[in-house]
């Protein structure tokens, strides 16, 4: 029997779309309206503006992700009607894991959005990274491509949202892989924000 929280963890692949769009628009709308200039005039230190944006969106995504996980786990528990297991400890861990994953995806999206400044560009990159590449890699199959998918944000996210015994690396490593993606996007976004004219 699988834990009920696995249902919520599996659908994180869809839920993250909301987070990606929200986080992207939180940045690109500032460029579309020009209000980013007011922000940068008020706070000329780019790193603070960028970090503040990432922090706010991450907190919203964490809360939304955790709330979704609670509802998802509850729905699954009733829906599976005794064919899924439930333990408070594991469920709580999964709720926090899903919240954390969505928060990291939000930071990743903010970084990509600052780097591209346009929603179309940002969403193309994020959709490729979070959906298209995993589908291709898993669709083609084979241990190499599956291993590669495990190094992508969503592949690694699955490992800590839905822990399984046969995983090639542990939950902590999985969190670090997703965090590394988020950090890389953050650094790139900050670099572009610093270098490019506004």
């Amino acid at each position: 029997m699988q834990p009920a929280g696995n249902a919520a963890a599996s659908s994180a692949v869809l839920v993250q779309f909301t987070v990606v769009v929200l986080a992207t628009v939180a940045v690109t709308s500032e460029y579309a309206t020009g209000s980013v200039r007011a922000a940068l005039l008020s706070v000329p230190r780019r790193s603070r503006v960028h970090a503040a944006k990432a922090l706010v969106v991450a907190v919203v995504a964490f809360v939304a992700g955790a709330a979704f996980a609670v509802v998802g786990t509850a729905v699954a528990w009733f829906g599976f009607d005794g064919r899924a297991s439930f333990s408070v400890g594991l469920s709580l861990r999964q709720v926090l894991a899903i919240g954390l994953y969505e928060a990291l995806v939000a930071v990743l999206s903010v970084g990509v959005a600052f780097a591209t400044r346009h929603p179309a560009g940002a969403l193309s990159i994020l959709a490729t990274l979070l959906w298209a590449l995993p589908s291709i890699l898993l669709g083609l199959g084979g241990p190499t491509l599956a291993g590669l998918n495990g190094r992508l944000p969503h592949g690694a996210g699955e490992r800590f949202m839905r822990p399984a015994a046969e995983a090639p690396y542990g939950s902590v490593t999985a969190v670090l892989i997703v965090a590394a993606w988020a950090a890389a996007a953050h650094v790139i976004g900050l670099y572009v924000l610093r270098r490019r004219d506004t």
Binding site: L41, S42, V43, P44, T198
Partner: protein, 322 residues
């Protein structure tokens, strides 16, 4: 005080701003003039740390904008009045700016009152007219009570009342000892507002002088006089023409247009010759005329060509020889 030193901005192969050096001093209104595309807005954005200069630097009170700790209390800027999130209310827009710079929130309501937006403060900014957006932009610039104001086309979209209001406000701010740097393409408005002018064309400095000098340089002394009596008029003309470099044109109605003499000089002369005058005035060149004269000498925007970038036409032949 704004200090601009060798400020240069290159976009690909074109120099949008080419080695600008000038100061904007406190206690007066400095007008920033130039045709569209001359680099005015780019220069202002570089002063405000929004664009990175390719070369050179722009300092506010001796420091780059990015190093200012509470920038809104050091510089008030208005660039594009429309650059507000349309769903946010005017007040929310200002509150966010105030919070980030440690400005008390009562100041937000003060400036909203000052610019006449208090009633519309809680409406979404997207519903504002262009004039109201302009007022919100001015409110944002005044928020931190800054000693330096940078305003890009502040009268754009304002009605005549608003234009007068901006003029009064800007003059008042300068009279209080603040530094005011203002761009506008409305020459008549600039003539009424600015004390000092920085003129650029094709990204280069064409002039950095007081308004009075700028106008004087563009126009030789000239005056108009109305002499009712034909004999006296003829006598006055004879006396005027005895000097070199003076030309007189007489209209049928008895009005004389004298070039090479000021109204004061003509008045003195008329007094000595016992000639009655009904009217006497200096002929003032408008800022628009003076500006067009100056920019006509740099070739690009009159011909639209890229052939020459020399400034004065007479100088061009000198330079042609190498």
């Amino acid at each position: 005080m704004i200090t601009v030193r060798g400020l240069t901005k290159r976009y690909g192969g074109t120099l949008a701003v080419d080695g600008l050096t000038f100061d904007v001093r406190a206690g007066r209104v400095t007008g920033f003039l130039g045709p569209n595309g001359a680099g005015k807005s780019t220069t202002m954005r570089m002063i405000l740390g929004l664009d990175r200069p390719t070369l050179g630097r722009a300092l506010i009170a001796g420091r780059p904008y990015a190093d200012l700790r509470r920038p809104l209390c050091a510089v008030g800027a208005m660039l594009d009045a429309r650059a507000v999130h349309p769903a946010r209310s005017g007040r929310a827009h200002l509150v966010a700016q105030a919070r980030s710079n440690g400005i008390p929130l009562r100041r937000v309501d003060e400036v909203l009152e000052q610019v006449g937006l208090a009633k519309a403060a809680r409406r979404p900014a997207g519903t504002y007219s262009l004039g109201m957006s302009g007022r919100l932009g001015v409110a944002g610039a005044l928020l931190g009570d800054p000693p330096v104001l940078v305003l890009d086309e502040p009268v754009n979209g304002l009605d005549p009342d608003g234009v007068r209001w901006i003029r009064g406000l800007v003059r008042e701010q300068a009279a209080e000892g603040r530094t005011v740097f203002l761009s506008s393409h409305l020459m008549s408005e600039m003539q009424l507002t600015a004390d000092h002018l920085v003129v650029i064309g094709r990204g280069r400095l064409l002039g950095d002088t007081s308004m009075a000098e700028f106008l004087a340089a563009a126009s030789p002394a000239a005056a108009r006089a109305v002499v009712p009596d034909p004999e006296e008029r003829a006598a006055l003309v004879r006396r005027l023409l005895t000097a070199d470099g003076v030309t007189v044109e007489a209209s049928e109605s008895g009005e004389l247009t004298v070039e090479g003499r000021t109204a004061a000089e003509i008045g003195d002369l008329a007094h000595r010759c016992r000639v009655r005058l009904h009217r006497l005035s200096d002929v003032r060149v408008s800022l628009e005329q003076a500006y067009l004269d100056l920019t006509a000498r740099s070739v690009e925007y009159t011909t639209g060509g890229y052939t020459a970038d020399t400034t004065a036409v007479p100088a061009a032949s000198d330079e042609g020889e190498r």
